[in-house]
Symmetry: C2
């Protein structure tokens, strides 16, 4: 997925390809971490100083509705967002909240097997494992 593809998707669905939308999407796309709305706002504000936090939230909702990003909610934390929409594993530390992404063919194959077994077609999915990271293990 890239900027041009997102422009297409937005227009196809009757939405404008505004610089704010593109900037927010590209920030999440290029982020190795899974940023929160506030972190996204801080970063994108560097290029667009007048960017409002409420715009960030609105854009995040739109991108979710279009299936381009995934929201991960956790207790006591702001939501985190990612653009990896293919089936993959999120390994999450209950201590520090860090999320690591793991992709593998095993997971992709498992997911289609599951869709087959239970006869559904997912718009999106979420596979989380919770375990303490090396730092928090101590």
């Amino acid at each position: 997925m890239n900027r041009k593809q997102l422009v297409k998707i937005l227009r196809k669905n009757g939405y404008k390809a505004t610089p704010q939308r593109l900037a927010i999407f590209e920030l999440i796309l290029s982020s190795k971490e899974h940023p929160t709305a506030e972190e996204i706002h801080n970063e994108v504000s560097k290029k667009f100083p007048s960017m409002s936090l409420s715009t960030v939230y609105q854009v995040l909702h739109l991108l979710q509705d279009l299936g381009q990003i995934m929201e991960l909610k956790f207790r006591g934390q702001s939501s985190r967002f990612e653009t990896n929409t293919t089936p993959h594993l999120n390994l999450i530390c209950p201590g520090c909240g860090k999320i690591e992404d793991y992709n593998s063919n095993t997971i992709v194959k498992f997911w289609s097997k599951l869709e087959n077994e239970f006869d559904f077609e997912a718009l999106s999915q979420r596979i989380d494992g919770y375990r303490y990271c090396d730092v928090c293990k101590k």
Copy 2:
């Protein structure tokens, strides 16, 4: 898992086995739906009229920390809770928010394979698929 086992787990970890804790756990256990804190409060209040909503939240946190329940958070909704802590599939409708549990040996086997492949041991896990239910599909 049953009442007696929970009493053991609580005491082993230095917590008191209070009637409130047992009632809340049993309510979630017996609930086919995935109740919210408020729904739990409403139900348990029938037996314990003085039960406070804040007690419900505190007990829910404790049970989570003990690995006995799982919290499922979604956008624009209160968290939902379940006692099924073995690897299973939650099929969730983005329209009405309904959650259906599906258990299968395929999933349990997949999960241990995954732990093996990525060398971790999960305290808990979450496998969600999002798709419109038959009612909301229209």
